[in-house]
């Protein structure tokens, strides 16, 4: 297949890549843009490790193709912290001890951030629904749920101040 040129935004930076149109966004991010924080656990939309925000919606980047990317906006795990300042979600996951091997964590953070951006006060059920597509084999999830709850609180508090 002939290569095409696509231009889109990643973590607020405009990028242009020359690629086969059927190359998964996951590979474009990891191979062409060297953003290896987005992980691959299946390539078939089953694990959620490759979750990114595409135009402010979560998607499995293994199921989105380069040919669909023109003009769109992507946020990956590398775009979550503000310089050295971690996002409250990242802080909470560390504090609650919710990170084990860490392989699922970038995807979990993206899904949880999407939730908190849209719902400042999610209950446990909403948190679980938002993370239903992100498999984690290490933690048993309970510390992840706690971390999302405590970061939601933190974000609300800092918004109040």
């Amino acid at each position: 297949m002939d290569k095409i040129e696509v231009t889109f935004t990643v973590n607020e930076k405009k990028v242009t890549v020359k690629t086969a149109p059927d190359k998964p966004l996951l590979d474009v991010l990891r191979e062409d843009l060297l953003l290896t924080g987005t992980k691959q656990g299946c390539r078939t939309g089953e694990c959620g490790a490759c979750t990114v925000l595409l135009d402010s919606k979560t998607v499995n980047s293994c199921l989105v193709f380069a040919g669909q990317m023109e003009g769109r906006e992507v946020v990956t795990i590398e775009g979550i912290a503000n310089g050295d300042k971690l996002h409250p979600l990242q802080e909470a996951l560390i504090e609650e001890g919710a990170v084990q091997c860490g392989f699922c964590i970038p995807g979990i953070i993206i899904s949880a951030k999407d939730l908190l951006d849209k719902n400042a006060e999610p209950d446990e059920k909403e948190i679980k629904e938002a993370l239903a597509g992100n498999l984690c084999r290490c933690t048993g999830y309970s510390k992840i749920v706690k971390a999302v709850q405590s970061s939601a609180e933190k974000i609300r508090e800092s918004a109040d101040n």
Binding site: A20, D27, R30, L34, L35, T36, G37, T38, K39, Q40, G41, C42, R43, T44, E46, C47, A49, T76, I77, E78, I80, A81, L86, Q90, L93, I94, E95, E96, G97, A98, V99, Q100, C101, G102, F103, C104, I105, P106, I109, K128, E129, L131, A132, G133, N134, L135, C136, R137, C138, T139, G140, Y141, S142, K143, I144, V145
Partner: protein, 761 residues
Amino acid sequence: MPSVGVNEIKVDAIEKVTGKSKYVDDLHFSGQLHCKVVFSRVARGKIESIDTSEALRIDGVVDVITVDDVPGNNMTHIIYDDYPLFADGEVKFAGQIVAVVLGETPESADMGRDAVSITYEEEKPVLTIQEGIAPGAPLIYSGDNIFKRYRIVKGDFKKAFEEADIIIENEYYTGYQEHAYIETQGMMAVPGHDGSMIVYGAMQCPFYVHDMVSKVLNLPASKVRIVQTVTGGAFGGKEDVPSLVASVAAVAAYKTGRPCKLMLHRNEDIISTSKRHPAWMKYRTAADKEGNILGIDVDFYMDAGAYATLSPVVLWRGTVHALGPYRCENVRVRTYAVATNKVPCGAFRGFGSPQIIFASEAQMDILAEKVGKDPFEIRKQNALNLGEETITGQKLNQSFGLHKVMDEAFEKSGWAEKRPMWGFEHGEGDIRKGIGVSSIFYGVGLGAGGKNMAKAGAFVQIYGDGSLSFAVGTTDMGQGMRTVLSQIASDEMGIPIEEIYCQSTDTSRIPDSGPTVASRATTMSGNAIIDACTQIKERMAVMAARILEAKPDELEFEDGKVFVRRIPDIFILFKDLAKRCAMEKVHMTAQGWFDTPFVSYNEENGQGWAYFVYAYACNVAEITIDLKTGEITVDRITAAHDVGKAINPQLVEGQIEGGSLQGMGYGVMEDILHDEKGRIVNTGLSTYIIPSIIDAPEMVPIIVEEEFPEGPYGAKGFGEQPLMGVAPAIACAVAHATGAHPDRTPMIPERILEWIEKKGG
């Protein structure tokens, strides 16, 4: 401020939450090639031909590698020497490595893989334990398809059964379990300009990898270096298999002279890598009318798959754990690892014990019912006491938290209130709630089955600025070893954890420290670090004594200072001491070493001091069942674990919660299925279902600390046992809710309905 016992944040957490951690697939070397494996689609047969000509014509395909390209031993050594790295003339399971295509890009390697054409003379595969041991079965291994057998004989089991008031006799089956680590297996082999080879990758046991790579390449071990990359979960699945993956990548790198990356995709990982052994158990229990166990007679068969790999040692652990932590004087246990034409099974959290524990705990539930007692009570009544003997004749004489974990789980689960209120007899419509228990013990470390590997080293170095780095031979695959060992180093030298850096595990830095399995990293490497730190402190103390005008043996290292005991005002800052030592060339590095305490085992009768210490756990599971549909929901798991000492309680809780959920998956949802030709059919995560966050029950982790005097700070290691007792506790709850006793895992709705129906009939 001591660090041990504190919830220090994970030393590698920041890079993990920012996406900076480098797992093997994140490595990139210029000029790298991509490997794509051609797996056998046939479970048993002769290879007639391998035609690579089409593949080699594809743009970007550089080479295709087969058994003919292996420079050294193609027959690999794990425990036996029976597993060919590349299939050599025949295949014994679907998913076996036949060839590897090397491409300039992953896409070209993919196309090349599809273009390789292999023809087989197919033979009928052996797909079950029963087929494997049937007289006249096609031979997969040696004379009888049995890789290994063990037996335990103690007391007079025949007499016990003659004298028993109650005899309970049942058969049990447990299914496969796939590790389903979210990071699939992968390796990057990088050839050196001087004939050396470095392999980076996801692994638990770098020294196994080292050994296999050097033999496969026929390179001196000194020219091989293995580096563990950040590893995305393992659970036993990255114990022996990474040696094979690394060796394949290394052969490719050796032949082409270019860095070669081999990443297995999920479906490839599922068809070709190890799993938990399915098992078939015939379990007889003799008891008196009070419900005291008098004797057991157990036959335990594991489906080992096509090659022995780790099955002999997995079988050994299962054998020793054939009865839970209960008293029993009269024992016969016979165990077998049986060859079949399926993917070789291997290590998985619990290592041969979850299968047999499922059966032995189910027997306890039936015994309780027979004598009209509560399942908790029957377990308490039979539970070993301090000083009593296991079925291998080992006296449990220290760090014995069994009764404490049982009492805690009883209390915190609310057993006394829930058990009488719930159950089949209580409830409306089709919905029933059930509560069930299991109590288990777990031999920590390799035990007598692996005592020659039971040693570990550590390298510790203090720098002139007062910081410390250390390297160990065990690995962190997410469980938090780097953090726990940093805490130990921090307390040993009396400096803050921020001053400590744990190097990545690399076989060029540290002597062979055995595998990271069997919950041994904390005890083994922890003790080796303590040894190294002690040596360095002795040397630094001489200098400090000179400065402080004190005697070296009066000095304490604490709070970033070195001071005279009882006169803490006389001190020097550790940083200043380190600087001074560096200037005056005091030797501030040391190799630490730890040998396992005594263990023994007699293969004739299965008697001996099998493990140096045991960890204990009690699980209570609460479930809801729909009697109409068989649908089961696990609502809550209370898990009390005696860990000796929790160096980092939060990490211990993480192990309990994660292990419990894996145990739940094993109990109620996970299984590998084959078609009639022996090929795995559920090769993805939408068909091999593991628990998602929606399935996750409420967890109540409870830490009990009965210190183990020979462990670092009293810790005894326990990463595996959280999984082991969960399926049995769920089975006990299912029996409570339905009145029918499960005899199989996973306890899926169809089976639950079957059990209910059988009980009714």
